[in-house]
């Protein structure tokens, strides 16, 4: 286990972590703003992957297909949000159970439509090569995923910090009542954030496909990782989601390499440490 081992897993962990960010950013923003724990977030990812791979199989461009996956999950998410979820803001348990029911329905629909066999997804041809640094092999596509997630993070940060809408969202997070009082359309902020979260996760499905592939139950496997990200980073914090994704991505990669049977247990370590020393998470505020 020399330097190569560490570098290889570190790069792999970063790539996986940036994927996690695509799921966890929506999770943390939706929670921070609406107090909705959206357990359908990983199911969005899965559905997005299947929609995307079907479109790719019919000759659609990879990036377009991935965006289409995001649009589909966003539409579905907004439908459920406007029909049911929006009524239960002050009631985190009800909204949580609704998203769980929704996730069950989506999972079963995916199984009904696409069957139980795993689908592997190949990256777009011009990114399917691998880079070699000495003995170190690193697929180009992993770098692309890191770059895309970084881009998404930048867009989210700019939108939150530099636009009027972002100001309204942050005001609603800080003090919803006060924001309503000064005339902020809080409901619109809710709508936009839920849409963005569902879109990014759905888009992430195909983008992450070459790394995770797509199969029923994948969403269940991603859920503990996404939640660990939110706990470590701090619930409601976007910077927290970014740092948390990288930490959990790395811990997961090394956990899988060093203790293949116990990799889920290794993510327990950062979670327990955070809860012991900083229960609100790295960037979170006490709830």
């Amino acid at each position: 286990m020399g330097l190569q081992f560490y570098l290889q897993n570190a790069l792999g962990g970063l790539a996986y972590g940036s994927l996690l960010f695509l799921i966890a950013s929506g999770l943390t923003l939706i929670f921070g703003l609406m107090r909705i724990i959206n357990l359908a977030q990983t199911a969005f990812y899965l559905l997005g992957a299947y929609v995307g791979l079907t479109l790719v199989a019919h000759g659609t461009n990879f990036w377009l297909a991935s965006a289409a996956g995001g649009v589909v999950t966003m539409t579905l998410g907004l439908a459920v949000y406007s029909a049911f979820l929006h009524r239960y803001h002050a009631d985190p348990l009800t909204s949580l159970l609704l998203t769980l029911g929704f996730a069950l329905i989506m999972d079963d629909a995916v199984l009904a439509i696409w069957g139980g066999d795993p689908h592997s997804i190949s990256p777009p041809p011009f990114l399917s090569a691998s880079l070699q640094f000495g003995t170190l092999v690193f697929p180009e596509y992993w770098l692309a995923v890191i770059a895309i997630s970084f881009l998404v993070a930048v867009v989210l940060f700019v939108a939150l910090q530099r636009t009027m809408l972002g100001v309204m969202i942050r005001a609603s997070v800080d003090d919803e009542e006060m924001a309503r009082g000064v005339g902020v359309d809080v409901n619109r902020a809710f709508f936009v954030v839920f849409a963005a979260g569902a879109f990014i996760a759905g888009m992430g499905g195909l983008l992450g496909g070459p790394i995770t592939s797509a199969y029923p139950g994948l969403d269940g496997e991603l859920t503990p990782l996404a939640f660990a990200v939110v706990i470590v980073g701090g619930m409601g914090s976007l910077s927290g989601a970014l740092i948390g994704s990288l930490i959990i991505g790395l811990v997961n990669a090394f956990g899988k390499a060093l203790f293949p049977e116990l990799s889920y247990f290794t993510i327990f370590v950062p979670v327990a440490l955070i809860m012991a020393f900083r229960p609100q998470g790295l960037f979170g505020r006490t709830l």
């Binding site: 009631d91 009800t94 609704l98 269940g220 859920t223 709830l287």
Partner: protein, 344 residues
């Protein structure tokens, strides 16, 4: 008849019917579904102790349940622990130890934070069962668990085992009812309603929550043991997040904070999921719809809904759905009085 008398009559009648059912020629299939009902009623009651009486919405109850079940399987296949009493003790103790570890981590926060952390904890334990193939058998689980005789009774047949589970259910219900009416239980209710006030009165809120979590874990572990013997098999599904949710749905459907209502919740969920899976392959989808219906139209549970429907049928105008959140923003649970609102 006074209310108390009516209750006594209902309980005794229910018990007699439950005892006689296997003798009345009820098909074995339904006897085994009822056996499952008793088992899930125990774990649902254990969760109600946390949700309804302590104000902790624990999403890792299936993990505690599953640890009890895996303890039976691993104890039997690796360490040759197969006698009745040692296995039950092993299952309960393993679940209590797991709850003690969970508590150290999860009780650092409360309310919604507690929910998020217990979701993660449940999924981590599920991941262990799923991936630690050399110990847990991975996705294939562990087969070949044999039911030992309960003292002089042979319980290898369904009917015998039905009585074992019924007995454990009755004992668990009585123990929990005594517990929530004891001074300890009253402190728990105080903790549920206004943790801050209890702190000001000098109670160690953390400690009471921690103890409640371990007691709940013990009962969940017991149910896990019974479940492993019932199926004679344990797999990771037993401790999945879906399982945790189903247990919570039983609690809500029965009526949060009632204990006796949970047997109703368990009955409905067990029968519904079995009947559904017999009728359609898409039963998970239907189950998802059931979640929607339960939390939106029966958040107070059947113990609230049935009398209201009854009143409606007799021409009284009552709202069917109580307008209270299941879990208020501060972390207190629905049927806690309004003073919880001043907490946040």
């Amino acid at each position: 008849l006074s209310l108390r008398r009516r209750w006594t009559v209902a309980v005794v009648a229910g018990l007699v019917v439950a005892l006689l059912l296997p003798k009345l020629g009820v098909p074995t299939f339904y006897i085994s579904l009822l056996t499952q009902t008793w088992i899930f009623a125990i774990v649902a009651m254990s969760l109600d102790l946390l949700v309804g009486f302590t104000g902790l919405v624990n999403f890792s109850q299936a993990a505690l349940f599953g640890v009890g079940a895996y303890a039976v399987a691993i104890g039997a296949t690796r360490f040759h622990v197969t006698a009745f009493v040692p296995v039950v003790a092993l299952g309960i103790v393993s679940a209590i130890v797991t709850a003690a570890i969970f508590g150290l981590v999860a009780l650092r926060s409360e309310g919604v934070g507690f929910i998020i952390i217990t979701i993660a904890l449940n999924e981590i334990v599920w991941g262990l069962a799923y991936q630690w193939v050399s110990v847990s058998g991975g996705d294939n689980g562990i087969t070949g668990i044999v039911r030992p005789p309960a003292g002089p009774f042979d319980v290898s047949a369904n009917t015998g085992y039905y009585y074992v589970c019924l007995a454990f259910f009755v004992v668990a219900l009585l123990l929990l009812l005594v517990l929530v009416r004891s001074p300890f239980g009253l402190v728990l209710k105080g903790v549920r309603e206004t943790p801050r006030r209890m702190r000001a009165l000098g109670y160690n809120v953390w400690l009471y929550r921690y103890l409640a979590l371990m007691i709940s874990g013990g009962f969940a572990g017991l149910a896990g043991v019974l479940f492993a013997w019932y199926n004679q098999f344990v797999g990771p599904v037993a401790l999945s997040l879906d399982q945790s949710t189903q247990i919570l749905i039983m609690v809500i459907l029965g009526g949060i904070g009632t204990l006796y209502g949970q047997v109703l919740g368990a009955f409905v969920v067990v029968f519904l999921s079995n009947e559904l899976s017999a009728v359609t392959q898409r039963w998970e989808m239907v189950l998802g719809v059931v979640y929607f219906v339960v939390v939106m139209y029966a958040p107070g549970g059947l113990v609230v809904l049935i009398p209201r429907v009854w009143a409606r049928l007799r021409g009284k105008r009552t709202a069917l759905v109580p307008h209270e959140p299941l879990l208020a923003a501060g972390g207190a649970v629905a049927n806690a009085p309004a003073e919880a609102a001043e907490e946040s």
